[in-house]
Symmetry: C2
Subunit: 409 residues, 2 copies
């Protein structure tokens, strides 16, 4: 008897043109298009194993070893049902010899290799890995764009994690969402020098969830409509061109402007939503001053901050500048040596001073921010642009022979 199982991993993505607001909350259709960089899943990833088996009594899903309820009509249920429908319509109905596994219940085990406490949105990589593993399990002929429309119904930004590189999510116009799809603007190989430094920021207070926050903005912000209609379309085009031309300066300017505008419309919400805190503000001040210096030298912006629905900063920079930027960040936000991992091997031993007293570039105005205590930035993750979902071998599967997560066995 065959075992129907597949395992996939999928990456995190961090938007540079922000998604904030749904025009259809059930289908998850956005009020504006968005664009993101897919990050390297060698560093940050969700891994998911899906198995279909006639002996299973119900669809079940475990996240990091803990069962997550699949609520009827909920987002998980929708994605699984849509994938089964695709299996039936595009494989089984067309080729009667294919096994009718779309009727079987599925067991799904998923695992994120980054701690939830890091404050990184895991729903994007999670739903992308879910959809990718089911697509492999069901041997679907579907394109990543078709799959993106299903991942989108799990978590909007998940659709962008179906592609590597630089990815647009076109808002579309059809009421059924058929044209609200992700699309690759450029592959990872086009601009592999694009690196990212994630600054994990501590926050005393839990922020507003993005799901409820964005709808409050849609309902109450007087500025959001202007952003949607008059600002985002032009930015989508400009930043796509900047990516195609590998024009980092333009990429950086638009990225920072759009992060600021997203937080501006959040603040224009009733009651106001704040995601950035004083540490986030200080990181912005460092990047602004760092860019001021390089602009003065005619080199254009060398770093671009962006903030999602939380206080963490993601700083995009070209590989050649990451070391300098990391040293700058560490000078204001000292790190414990034992917790710092030089993942990409950029730093030879001792080449990064993890507890420097403001070791900043020549001409840098040190007064733009105060120096914080250890722990204000509780972690630094250095990564880069990466590829799309990967099919993994059965050796890497997360389900044991009995159909339960290996971690539970």
């Amino acid at each position: 008897m065959s075992i129907y199982q597949a395992t996939a991993s999928a990456p995190v993505n961090i938007a540079v043109i922000k998604y904030w607001g749904k025009r259809d909350t059930k289908l998850i259709l956005p009020t504006n298009s968005s664009l993101s960089v897919t990050l390297d899943q060698d560093h940050l990833r969700s891994t998911t194993t899906s198995r279909a088996d006639p002996s299973f009594e119900r669809d079940q899903l475990w996240l990091n070893g803990k069962e997550d309820e699949i609520k009827p009509g909920g987002r998980l249920a929708t994605c699984i049902a849509e994938m089964k429908r695709l299996r039936k319509e595009t494989v089984e109905d067309k080729n009667p010899e294919e096994p009718k596994i779309s009727d079987y219940k599925v067991h799904i085990a998923s695992y994120n290799n980054f701690p939830t406490a890091a404050g990184l949105a895991s729903s994007a990589s999670g739903f992308a890995a879910l959809v990718a593993s089911l697509a492999y399990l069901y041997a679907l002929p579907s394109s990543p764009s078709v799959l993106s429309a299903i991942a989108r119904q799990g978590s909007g930004s998940a659709c962008r994690s179906l592609f590597g590189g630089f990815v647009a999510w076109d808002m579309g116009s059809q009421p059924n969402g058929a044209d609200s799809l992700a699309r690759q603007v450029a592959p990872q190989s086009h601009w592999p020098e694009m690196h990212a430094l994630i600054c994990v920021v501590s926050d005393a207070k839990k922020g507003t969830s993005s799901t409820s926050g964005m709808q409050r903005t849609v309902e109450t912000s007087a500025l959001l409509q202007h952003r949607i209609t008059h600002v985002v379309p032009e930015r989508m085009e400009s930043i796509s061109n900047a990516i195609l031309q590998k024009d980092f300066d333009t990429f950086a300017r638009i990225t920072m402007k759009d992060s600021n505008q997203f937080h501006a419309v959040a603040l224009d919400t009733e009651p106001p939503i704040f995601y950035m805190n004083d540490v986030s503000r200080a990181i912005i001040a460092l990047v602004v001053e760092y860019n001021r210096l390089s602009l003065e030298k005619g080199q254009g912006c060398k770093a671009a901050y962006t903030y999602d629905a939380g206080p963490n900063a993601v700083i995009y920079a070209l590989k050649e500048n990451v070391k300098e930027i990391m040293q700058l960040v560490v000078s204001y936000f000292p790190q414990k040596p034992e917790e710092f991992k030089d993942v990409l091997g950029l730093f030879g031993e001792g080449s990064l001073d993890l507890n420097a007293q403001a070791k900043v570039p020549v001409g840098f105005n040190e007064a733009v921010a105060q120096r914080f205590e250890i722990g204000a930035v509780k972690g630094l993750i250095h990564t880069r642009v990466g590829d799309g979902p990967r099919k993994l071998s059965d050796d890497e599967g997360l389900l044991a022979a009995n159909g339960l997560p290996k971690t539970l066995v």
Copy 2:
């Protein structure tokens, strides 16, 4: 020989519809109308004595006992020249018997009764007191609106301090600024129950000056134009009606929305401008939760926060609710008893617990903010709506017989 001298005091005002952006930086013509509440000068005021004397060799001005240079073509010079012109045109040219004191040089001494360190904008009360004292000195027949056009050229928001009560500054449309004037919406006596609690917030970092900040917003914010054209006009009308109807709930909602939107367009500026910090955010969270409770009881909003170009909160509330709000603020931001002044005599001895462990209303969700250390809010000033500029007696004059500030003699 006559002594030509007059002394006036003028109040601070705190806007509820914010002024942010000039369409003419020399004449100080704003990009949108604004509206403020004049605060009681019994508590916060600028006092100014002006003297004209043929023996004076040049126009001179002392602020808090220290000479301030009157730069040719600068804002001080403009205001003084305009006042001399008014004296000549409306008094001396029409009545040849009036002494030609518009030819004399003036000495001006000004004093703010609140410390600069409090972070309260002193330019509004300062320029209003300057203009008022010169108007008394010159015995001008001019209305406060005419004088407001001159104070406006010293500091935009100063024009609103020429009136007591609730004051609009109509942006006007004429290129020469002749119709960009302040106007009283309602006098102090219309709604004397309007109180204000100023929370003086410490900040590690000096923020962007409002003069340079607002022009950066005009030049770079994609959202500002929408605010100017589509949001402010309707809010000016609605909040004026709310004031006339003494509808605190509507007044509060618009006040908070407009404060948030002002900070949103500041954040949408390139590079972004932040005035609020984590303490400011926490005060917002307290007010939002406090209002949630009163809305639940069908009582409408009972408090309205507003923030100018700095981290200080001003909380507007009706007199009957101030005590409860003050207790709430003090529960999260403990005060040193020796520094707390019960200016309005609202609190009997021991009725306010200055170091309470979250002494909050029943049903209040204490988790909306953390409790801060002493010093995070370094002072509380309780005041209320007040009247416009006052003429003071010569006994209260700030210049000695020799024409120098008394503090210097």
